[in-house]
Symmetry: none
Subunit: 199 residues, 4 copies
Amino acid sequence: MVSRRGRPRSSAVREKVVRAAADLALDGGPGAATVDAIAKRAEVSRTTIYKWWPSASAIVLEGLLDSVRDTIVRPPGSTTVQALEHHVGALFGLVADPAVGPLLRNVIAASVSDPAIERALMDQWITPRRAAVAVTLRDAVAAGELPARTDVEVAVDALVSPPYYRLMLGMAPLDDAGVAALVNTVWCGCRATRKVSGP
Amino acid sequence: MVSRRGRPRSSAVREKVVRAAADLALDGGPGAATVDAIAKRAEVSRTTIYKWWPSASAIVLEGLLDSVRDTIVRPPGSTTVQALEHHVGALFGLVADPAVGPLLRNVIAASVSDPAIERALMDQWITPRRAAVAVTLRDAVAAGELPARTDVEVAVDALVSPPYYRLMLGMAPLDDAGVAALVNTVWCGCRATRKVSGP
Amino acid sequence: MVSRRGRPRSSAVREKVVRAAADLALDGGPGAATVDAIAKRAEVSRTTIYKWWPSASAIVLEGLLDSVRDTIVRPPGSTTVQALEHHVGALFGLVADPAVGPLLRNVIAASVSDPAIERALMDQWITPRRAAVAVTLRDAVAAGELPARTDVEVAVDALVSPPYYRLMLGMAPLDDAGVAALVNTVWCGCRATRKVSGP
Amino acid sequence: MVSRRGRPRSSAVREKVVRAAADLALDGGPGAATVDAIAKRAEVSRTTIYKWWPSASAIVLEGLLDSVRDTIVRPPGSTTVQALEHHVGALFGLVADPAVGPLLRNVIAASVSDPAIERALMDQWITPRRAAVAVTLRDAVAAGELPARTDVEVAVDALVSPPYYRLMLGMAPLDDAGVAALVNTVWCGCRATRKVSGP
DNA sequence: TTCTAATCGAGACGGTACGTCAGGTCTTCTC
DNA sequence: GAGAAGACCTGACGTACCGTCTCGATTAGAA
C-alpha cells in the first residue's frame, strides 16, 4: 500500500469549493462564480483553489459532473423505443433541472473561450450521452428495426440538440409531450425515410 | 423632418468600431473583443463606444447582424421540401461560415450573462429564422401535406437545433449529406407519425 | 497657453496618497506602507496609484522630499565654521527628526533592492546635501583656511556619514554636543593634517 | 552529559542552507534570498529551515558572520596610529569585499523591519568592531597621546560610519588613500581639538 | 456670422478579478 | 526526535478591463 508523504489533501476543501461554486452559479447568476467569490464563500484560500483548479469554470464543471453521477444504462427488458425515450427523456429532464441547467449553460459558455473546459465537457458530458443514444439506435439497425441506411449521427443530433439549444438561448424547455413528440418524429422519420434523391 | 442640432453622429465611427470588433472576435479568439481592444483597433475613443453600445458583445452582435442581411425568403415556385431544404440549408451554411459562426458563438456565450444580448439575439436572429421554417411547415399542414396533429415547434427544434448545438460545443458542422438526411428524416417523421400513446 | 486635453489629474489624489504613505510608514512601522494599505488609507484606487508611482517606496520617498523642501543655503555673513555647523547641524537635525528619519530609513532600505529608488534618493537627497558641505569646504580651501591637500570627499564623508549610520542601525542619534564635537574634530583634523606618509 | 534522544541535527543541513542563502544573496541580488529559494537551492525542506531560523535574513546574517570569523586583535607591538589604521582598514576592506558587502547591505536593510535582526547585527557585528576602535582610542587617551576631553564615541563614528554609509547608498567605497586620509584627519582632529566654544 | 448643441477624443479615476509569489503553519510519513 | 513532503492560509503583488467622469476640440444646424 502506497501511503503518500506529506500532508494529505483535505477532502473538505474540495467539497466546500465545489459546493460554493455551484451555489454561486445557481443563485448568483452566471458571472457570480469567480474564483474570488468562491474562495470567500467556501472559506478557502484562493491559492489553494488555484493549486487544484485552473479556472472557476473548471470548478463549476466539476460540481456539475459530481451532481450527475447516475450511470447511463438502458432499462433492462425495454423495447428500443422505450430505451430511446428513457435516454432522451433523462437528458431532457437533466437539462431542464433548475439545479443542473444553469450550471451547464455556464460551463458551455465558458467552453467557448477555454479549450480545456471544452475538452472536458465533451469527454465527460456530451460524448457519453450521445453514445448511449447512438448505441441504442445502432442496436435497432442491427435488429432490423431501422433501415441500414439510417444516419445514426444525424438522428442523435436531432434527438439531443434541442435541449442544449433551448438552454443556451434562454428558451423554455420542451414539456413532456414535446419530448415524446420529438422522439416519435425522429423514430418514425428514420423508419420511413426513403432514399434522399430518389426518382 | 426635424434634423437635430449639433454635430451629427459619424457613420465612420460606427463602421470602424463594428469592423474592429468583428476582426478581433474572429482572429483574436473569443475574449479578444474587449471594449479597450476595440477602441484601440478602431482608433476610436472608449468614451464614444460606451456612448453608443452597452457592451463589447453588443458590438459583435451588431457586426453579426450587419454581415447577414440577406432577406429570408422562400424561393418562388418551390415545393415544400425544397423550401425547407433551402431554409435549413441556408441556416447550416451560415453557422458553418468561418466569418459568422465564431461571432455567433461569441454572442451566444455572452447572452448567458447579459439579458440585453439575450433579448436582441432572440429577436433579431433566432426568432426570424425559426419563423421562416415554421411558416413553411404550417403552410404544408394547411395544404394537407402534413397531418394536422404535427407539432410544428418540435419539428422546428429538430431542424434548427443541431447547428447551434455543434457550434457551441466545438463540434464539426454537419456536411451537406447530413443536412439533407436531417431534413428528410424530420419531414418523413412528421408525415409518418402516429398517435404517440396509441392502443 | 497649453491646456491639456482629458480630465485633469486630481491634486487631491496625489496629496492623499503621499500623506497616507507617510502616515503608514511613520506609525505603522516599516513594511506597513504597502500599496494596498496606502490605497485603502488614502481612499484611492490601487490602479491609480500604480499609474503614477512604480512602488510603495517611491511614494514614501516623494513624501520625504515633499516634507523637506527647505532650500539648502549658506547663512549670509557666516564664517566657514559657522556655515559648516549650520549645514551639518541641519542634516543631523533632519535625520533625527521623528517625522523624517523613519521615512528615510525606510527608503534607504528599499533602495537596496530597487535601483530606481537608489537613483532618486541619490539625486534628490544625498547629492545636494553632500554638495552643500563640499562647496563650503572647497571655498575654505580657496580662501586658505584649509590646506590645499585637504581631501574634501573624505571630509564630507566623515561629517555626513554618522547620522545615516546610526539611523540605519537603530542607534540613538548624536546629541548637539556630539554634533559640535564631530564638526570640530573634522575641521581641526583637516587643518592639522600632515602628509600621511611622512619621513 | 545526556545525549539527546532521536535523530541529531544534521550539520550538513546547516551548511547547505547557509551557503545557499549566501549564494542567492550574492548573485541573485537582494530579494533573491527568500526562504523558498533557499530551500530549493539547498535541497532542504522549508519546514526544516523554519525550525532553525526565524527568517531568511537571519540565515544570510549567519552566513555573513560565518565568513568573517577572524578575531579582531590589535597587532602586537603596534603604535596607536598603526593599530587604528589596522582596525579601520580591516573594516573598510571587509565592507568593500564583494563577498561580504552585499550580504551586509542585505542584512542592514532587513534589520529595518526586523528587530531580531537588528539586535543580532548590533551585538555580533557592529558592537565588537566599534569596541576594538574605542579601546584603542581610550588606551591612547590613557597614555596621554590624545587629550582627556576626546569624545571617543564621536571619533569612532567618524572612523567607522563612512563605509556603511557608502555601502547602503550604493556609492563606491573609499580607496586606500581615502581610508588613510580619513584615519589621519580624525587622529589629528582629536589631538588638535580645542574647546568647542572658546573665545 | 455667431450661437449652441451635439459628437468625439483624451485621459483620470474607482472598481473587481485576475493569476502569482512569499511567508508562515500544520499534518503526515520516513529515517 | 530530525527531516522531507506537501497542503493550507494570509496578504501583497502588478495587470487587465470595466464603466464613469471631466475636460477640450470639432462640427454643423439654428438664430
